[in-house]
């Protein structure tokens, strides 16, 4: 049954009529036409669908859309601020941390959450923190490099 659900999406309020049991991933991709959030497995295993809910990474394929009512949701499309890329986005390009790009939005947002929970993670902590994100192109070591180099800049409060 459709419910009215309101939340903030990439800084703007949204209000929609939608069955609250539906998964956030498909509501984002379908009704809200934000296709940067990717479907990889639908079971919470690959991390391609990660988005930020109140600044914490959440697997959108597992989260019911009702669960974000009243919260702040950020997708990859909303990460750049005032036309400037987020340090993580820049670091991914600088470190050549992507190939096909399909896992990249989920990687970047998972890393965002990691850097929020830990200001200056060690390399090992980054590796452990990214354990549930799959990159089939095998860019993992460079993804870790990118997160490490972005950590410095994020720490400065960007």
């Amino acid at each position: 049954m459709p419910n009215t659900i309101s939340f903030r999406l990439n800084g703007k309020p949204v209000r929609l009529q939608v069955d609250g049991n539906r998964k956030l991933l498909w509501v984002l991709r379908t009704e809200l036409e934000l296709t940067g959030t990717k479907f990889g497995c639908g079971h919470g295993v690959c991390g391609a669908c990660a988005v930020l809910v109140d600044d914490r990474p959440v697997r959108a394929c597992m989260a019911q859309v009702a669960s974000v009512a009243g919260k702040k949701v950020v997708t990859i499309e909303g990460l750049a601020k005032n036309g400037g890329l987020h340090p993580l986005q820049k670091a991914f390009v600088e470190n050549d941390a992507l190939q096909c790009g399909f896992c990249t939005p989920g990687m970047i947002l998972t890393a965002y959450g990691l850097l929020r929970s830990k200001r200056k993670p060690s390399r090992d902590e980054i590796i452990q923190g990214m354990d549930d994100n799959l990159c089939r192109c095998g860019a993992h070591t460079r993804i870790v490099d990118a997160i490490q180099s972005a950590a410095e800049e994020v720490k400065q409060g960007t």
Partner: protein, 811 residues
């Protein structure tokens, strides 16, 4: 080059490094300035800005007005008769428009069967029986994804289970016939041989040492993070079919669709947009694609079909699944003299491998590898089982991974058996640099190579001799440490059209370059990147040739309406074929540019010479016309009688394949209590000839190594005795993550391909091919003294633990 650990000169290999035609170096050549950014520059990728902002355009991101959705009912049995399909309940659901069955496809013109890439046949939808678990049984078309997914639960299929045949050796007994649609009631599909049997038998008769081993290279799955899918959009008024498709080979797929459907080829447009990883899995035509296209034809509306992860893992083409029996012979000096190989290829329920058509076992006969020997004989038999069809590459060139795994394991076994050091043993048996071009005993002509340079460099980088000392001490203390080497030879870039075709279409590839009046360019290709970074590297090749800044060149692939015909991207063929086409098209443009420059400078063509981005008068370089000035003149002031414009197309047919190679060394420590294998170091020295963009090449090597690590230690598609897939989710099928990825230490040698116009060879797959035996050899090396000769991949902790227990190391 920065970021590589190989800046210092290695004089030893410089001396050794002269092959017949081409010397080996280790410096990347850079001839253009930064602002042009031609070959050799670490240019940041042009495709990245859209990907890091979520602005890629993948098939599932395509949304068309009025689009319908398709979902597929799949078989819960590996082998069963279908008595009936009752779709009435599904059809009554709100939003369900149609259910498509095999009977419907048959009525639509025998579309219930389709040809495979190996000219076998495969069911699109069944009429009377299914032959693998998760086979497509019928499809529901509905107004939303949700309704379609719910509706497939409401289709009732009455199955009568039949015996499954999962083991290919059992299948060879023909007790259960998989394909009773065929005239010959047998599961045996083909027999294929290469090499000289009599000569090989003779060599084995004279051998001082013979080693023999059975190896299984298990069934694995590429499992790209983007699954396969399609949006088919049939426009009745225009009789035009537009298809968005996860396709590594859009032109070939267009031709297949035209042949299967009877739609005229000029009325079919295939667009392969951004692709979320391919690795071979997006080469075949799957039943879902055909049904989706038919659904759009029938409804006259756009129809979207996207697989879920389990469908992808359970029904899409697998890779490998080779059962190998190999024998190697050596003379009294330990020199390898011969190789004899018998292999059973488990093809599943159709021979749907993606191989060139004359090569049912792909390029497997490259299996004498990097070693010079007198004779070899290889036999392969293909057999049907009640498992999903396939035989795609998993990031390799047509079965070269199976070949390399076998030869590198066998060479290691021989070295150990003879009590020789595996590195020294390889150095002694390598094809020498002065033997190139080298004719292999199975008929390949290796164009170039310098195997000892690569191995010596890897040994230097890892300090091999010191590691052997350490191992001795560890062993004395009861610790398990192993060092594994793999010195592989790849064979990529299919191919010369006289031997290589897919369904009769020759394996050339193409480039079309147009230079606009303001000196900016558009370049289109017959290949299709799935993450390889073609938009960047192709632009760098053209920049190198024509002096246009690579940022001024827009590269486009994947739209069959605009791109020149080509066979697509797989088997590391893009740089060897389309990359060469870019060079040749650039050179055609340059020839015309020279005429225009001569006209503008009022000199003869012979008075001109090329310098980076301009033609200048010999001896007076200030009299010059840049490529931009020439481009402008091509539209505004070209010589009388000359056609206007500055553009060219090239269809490149390579004279030979290319033979990238490398040497990898892996160090492992094994936990005696758990059997866990920890990779302590992994050094990879690759030789892919001249390098277009070192940053991208290194990224490809990282990726390839990770996809080599995967089957070595983790991945395997497993079935139970009824043919049910036990690894149908990513929780069961273990794809490595950051935690499993070791620190890759890269090095390189550069031995340019003598026949490729820029001496490049292709690289994306070498590490996937080379890494597994390095890891397996390291593990066996750690356990050899306990009597362990071989372990099949994936080398899981339980397997190792059991060996340790059986040998009394642990209890």
């Amino acid at each position: 080059m920065p970021q590589l650990d190989d800046r210092k000169e290695h004089h030893s290999e410089q001396k050794a490094g002269v092959s017949a035609k081409v010397p080996t170096t280790d410096e990347v050549q850079i001839k253009t300035p930064e602002k042009i950014c031609g070959m050799g520059h670490r240019k940041k990728r042009k495709e990245d800005p859209r990907f890091i902002q979520g602005k890629g355009n993948y098939v599932d991101d395509v949304k068309l007005p009025g689009m319908l959705y398709m979902d597929i009912v799949r078989s819960p049995y590996a082998h069963a008769k279908i008595n009936s399909i009752d779709a009435s309940a599904a059809l009554e659901m709100d939003g369900v428009l149609a259910v498509i069955t095999g009977e419907d496809l048959k009525a639509a013109g025998d579309l219930h069967w389709m040809p495979t890439l190996m000219s076998d046949t495969q069911m699109v939808l069944p009429i009377d029986k299914v032959v693998y678990y998760a086979q497509e049984v019928c499809a529901v078309i509905a107004t939303s994804r949700y309704v379609a997914a719910d509706a497939i639960e409401q289709v009732y299929v009455d199955y009568e289970p039949l015996d499954a045949v999962v083991d290919p050796f059992e299948a060879m007994n023909d007790n259960v016939i998989v394909r009773d649609d065929k005239e010959k009631k047998t599961n045996h599909i083909w027999h294929w041989e290469a090499g000289d049997k009599a000569a090989t038998d003779a060599v084995f008769k004279d051998a001082a040492t013979v080693v023999k081993e059975k190896l299984y290279i298990p069934r694995i799955h590429v499992s790209s993070i983007e699954t396969c899918g399609m949006v088919a959009n049939y426009n009745k008024a225009r009789s035009h079919m537009q298809i968005y498709m996860t396709s590594q080979a859009p032109h070939a797929h267009r031709t297949v669709f035209a042949l299967v459907s009877g739609l005229p080829e000029h009325k079919i447009q295939i667009i392969s947009p951004d692709i979320g990883g391919g690795f071979g899995g997006k080469v075949p035509v799957y039943p879902g694609y055909v049904i989706c296209a038919v659904a759009s034809l029938v409804t006259g509306k756009p129809v979207k079909w996207i697989e879920d992860r389990s469908e992808n893992l359970q029904a899409d083409s697998f890779a490998r699944d080779y059962h190998i029996e190999a024998e190697m012979a050596a003379d009294k000096n330990g020199k390898i003299t011969g190789l004899r190989v018998k292999t059973l290829s488990d093809c599943g329920a159709a021979d749907a491998a993606a191989n060139p058509s004359k090569f049912p076992a792909g390029l497997y006969s490259i299996c004498t590898g990097s070693y010079d020997m007198k004779a070899a004989h290889v036999e392969v038999d293909g057999v049907y089982t009640t498992k999903p069809p396939g035989g795609v590459a998993y990031r390799c060139s047509f079965r070269v991974t199976e070949a390399v795994h076998m030869i590198e394991r066998m060479t290691d076994i021989m070295a150990h058996e003879l009590g020789e050091d595996p590195a020294d043993y390889r150095l002694k048996n390598f094809i020498r640099p002065d033997q190139f071009p080298y004719k292999s005993p199975t008929g390949w002509e290796y164009d170039s190579g310098n195997y000892e340079a690569a191995l010596k460099k890897a040994m230097d980088m890892i300090d091999y001799r010191a590691l052997r000392e350490e191992q001795k001490q560890k062993r004395a203390n009861g610790e398990l440490m192993g060092i594994g080497i793999s010195s592989f030879t790849e064979v990529v870039g299919a191919g010369p059209s006289k031997d290589y075709d897919i369904l009769g279409i020759k394996m050339f590839d193409s480039a079309e370059i147009r230079i606009h009046p303001t000196g900016k360019a558009m370049a289109r290709f017959g290949t299709k990147s799935q993450g390889q970074g073609h938009e960047t590297t192709y632009a760098q090749i053209i920049a190198e040739e024509l002096g246009l800044p690579s940022d001024d060149i827009e590269v486009e692939e994947g739209d069959t309406d605009t791109a020149p015909y080509g066979l697509g991207t797989y088997a590391s063929r893009s740089t060897p074929t389309a990359g060469a086409a870019a060079v040749m098209a650039s050179r055609k443009i340059k020839a015309k540019a020279k005429k225009i420059a001569a006209h503008l400078l009022e000199v003869g063509e012979d008075d001109l010479e090329w310098s980076i981005d301009r033609f200048q008068v010999k001896g007076s370089p200030d009299q010059a016309k840049t490529i931009q000035e020439i481009a402008f003149a091509a539209y505004t002031n070209h010589p009388q009688g000359m056609e206007a414009g500055l553009e060219a197309v090239d269809y490149y047919d390579p004279p030979n394949l290319t033979f990238p190679f490398g040497s990898y060394i892996c160090v492992v420590d094994i936990d005696k209590g758990t059997g866990e294998v920890a990779i302590r170091r992994f050094v990879a020295v690759d030789d892919c000839g001249h390098i277009i963009n070192p940053m991208i090449v290194e990224g490809q090597i990282h990726g390839g190594l990770t996809m080599g690590l995967a089957p070595a230690l983790y991945e395997e598609i497993v079935y139970d005795e009824n043919g049910q897939n036990l690894t149908g989710t990513l929780a069961d099928y273990l794809v490595p993550t950051a935690v499993e990825s070791p620190k890759w230490e890269l090095g390189k040698t550069i031995t340019p391909s003598p026949h490729h116009p820029i001496g490049a060879k292709g690289v994306g797959e070498s590490p996937t091919v080379g890494a597994p035996p390095a890891i397996a050899n390291a593990v066996v090396d750690a356990l050899w003294h306990l009597g362990v000769r071989h372990i099949d991949i994936p080398i899981t902790p339980p397997k190792v633990w059991k060996l340790l227990r059986d040998n009394g190391v642990t209890d």
